[in-house]
């Protein structure tokens, strides 16, 4: 597999923390455990449904945290005016994609909670672009809006779930069958098809999406996306924004903009987020929230690998022990890593070999 990220994980995390701090986001540190009921009541908000649980000493059912956002919202007051701005870098525990095992995954992300306005959305969108650009310059941010898709679904009197699934899969052939079965009007069929196909570079896709607008909700969502795109063009991120209304999130939690970040060469999205005011209502809080998370677990195998584990490998025998120790000391003082060994270690990569014995033992 080709290496595509020329930094290591710690470098990226350090750079991201500096970026978030420079925008006034405070570091938020969480405990490892959370009451299981928080996840049980909001299962549909989680990426995976399985959670590691255990009973604590007081008999409460606890969970190893599978998600950060729920905890951030639960444990913080939502300001009536202004925004609380947090970033985090935490471990989460969830089922890894394509396996039946739990995995510890590093996740970093940003949350803005309170009176969310378009400036906050634009700032978060720009932060996402900066975040993705730390991984690779070849990235795309897929943007959608729940107001647009929910507004579209409002016009149909048939099952929302089926429409949502067909939109997510871009499965127009199955939609035509569905339309025929449900006697849908040409106007509705056309609006759905335009919504599926209005994807790609934002400037063009937004123009195309206008042809699908059927009500005020869709129109308001599209206008918000257009204003966002104007701002992103000003920030220089305009050509990185893709519109894709097939990114549909759970409408019980999300109500506005939706984000999915992709990096060339990585098969799944590496970042996701959006506006989730409805999650706050579910947790009996008033106000809005917008945020995103970068899934480092998705990118860990693409980090640059350091082939040479040590700069210098010194092989010694019984007569050259002191010489080896002396040379090793000098090497370390010169700022290089060193390993001394009596025989050639297997599977150790090194930049330079110093052989202090006549016959190297294999």
């Amino acid at each position: 597999m080709a290496v595509i990220i020329d930094k290591d994980e710690n470098q990226i995390l350090g750079n991201l923390a500096a970026i978030y701090k420079s925008r006034g986001y405070r570091r938020y540190k969480l405990g490892c455990f959370e009451e299981y009921s928080l996840y049980q009541e909001n299962k549909d908000f989680l990426i995976g449904k399985n959670v590691i649980t255990f009973s604590d000493l007081g008999g409460r059912l606890m969970a190893m945290r599978p998600d950060v956002t729920l905890s951030v919202i639960r444990h913080n007051e939502v300001p009536e005016n202004g925004l609380e701005k947090f970033f985090y870098n935490e471990k989460v525990y969830r089922q890894s994609a394509g396996s039946n095992e739990f995995k510890e995954i590093n996740q970093t992300g940003v949350e803005a909670i309170g009176a969310v306005d378009e400036a906050a959305i634009a700032e978060i969108t720009a932060l996402i672009c900066e975040t993705l650009s730390q991984i690779s310059s070849d990235y795309i941010l897929d943007v959608s809006h729940m107001g647009f898709t929910e507004g579209l679904f409002d016009e149909f009197s048939c099952e929302r779930q089926t429409l949502s699934t067909l939109l997510k899969k871009k499965s127009l052939h199955d939609f035509y069958r569905f339309a025929e079965k449900n006697n849908l009007s040409d106007e509705l069929v056309n609006a759905f098809c335009v919504t599926v196909n209005a994807c790609g570079k934002a400037d063009n896709a937004l123009k195309e999406a206008k042809k699908a607008v059927l009500n005020d909700k869709m129109s308001a969502a599209l206008s918000e996306l257009e204003r966002l795109q104007v701002r992103m063009n000003k920030f220089g991120y305009g050509d990185k924004i893709n519109i894709n209304f097939s990114s549909v999130n759970n409408a019980d939690y999300y109500n506005g903009i939706i984000y999915n970040g992709f990096v060339s060469g990585i098969p799944r999205f590496v970042l996701s987020g959006g506006r989730y005011d409805k999650l706050l209502s579910k947790l009996n809080k008033r106000g809005g929230a917008v945020g995103f998370a970068l899934y480092l677990g998705e990118i860990e195998r693409y980090f640059k690998r350091d082939d040479a584990l040590v700069d210098c490998l010194i092989i010694y025998d019984e007569t050259t022990q002191d010489e080896a120790l002396e040379l090793a000391d000098k090497t370390v003082k010169a700022g290089n890593s060193v390993r001394i060994a009596k025989s050639m270690p297997t599977e150790l990569k090194y930049s330079r070999l110093v052989n202090l014995c006549k016959e190297v033992k294999q």
Partner: protein, 207 residues
């Protein structure tokens, strides 16, 4: 370059022929070759030949940008991919079948033999029917004949195998055909190429 995962066998060969006609020909491809990867000289397309049930895995994991897979596989494994076209080939149906004289005894859980455990579980859960799923990997028709299951959930093309074993279809769960799928990330970075190959393939199928 577009990487295409094709299912080994008649369906894959037919799709390759359609793509070749549509301009995605690979000079080094021959039917009898045992090679698994073919690239065209212009470097526009490469083909992988994989087990039909694995096509979705190759596409979901990004080894292939697009691929051709049966709807039965998509329903069973639910890969996170775009489903861009119904090729209308390899048509068959996912069915519930049983011995011709079978009647459902609703006082006990229904024993269901199948290769498609998720599909079967979902179907009977929607009906609210209590079931015991028996996972088999082949010769599913044998299960009710030998009495290890009451019904089977399986793909039925012509119904000849069922008939010869004194079984019949009791319910068609869904219609199956070959679908053209795309990796979600590839679709962002190769949008125009994937849209172009999809359109050309649809046109070739409609001819």
């Amino acid at each position: 370059m577009i990487n295409v995962a094709l299912p080994k066998g008649r369906l894959g060969e037919k799709v390759y022929e359609l793509l070749a006609e549509a301009g995605y020909k690979c000079e080094e491809y021959t039917k009898d070759s045992r090679k698994l990867i073919f690239c065209d000289e212009r470097g526009e397309v490469s083909y992988f030949w994989v087990k039909p049930s694995d096509v979705a895995v190759y596409v979901e994991l990004g080894a292939a940008d697009v691929g051709v897979v049966g709807k039965d596989v998509l329903d069973e494994y639910e890969p996170d991919v775009y489903e861009l076209a119904d090729l209308g080939m390899g048509k068959c149906a996912m069915c519930v079948a049983a011995k011709s004289d079978w009647t459902d005894d609703t006082s006990v859980p229904l024993r269901v033999a199948t290769k498609f455990t998720n599909t079967a579980e979902k179907y009977f859960a929607d009906m609210g029917r209590d079931v015991e799923i028996i996972k088999l990997n082949g010769s599913i028709e044998l299960a009710p004949v030998l009495g290890i299951s009451d019904v089977i959930v399986d793909i039925v093309e012509t119904g000849t195998t069922l008939k010869e074993n004194n079984l019949r279809v009791f319910k068609r769960i869904s219609e199956i055909s070959a679908r053209f799928i795309a990796n979600k990330s590839s679709y962002k970075f190769k949008t125009d190429e994937i849209k172009k190959i999809t359109e050309k393939l649809i046109k070739a199928v409609e001819k």
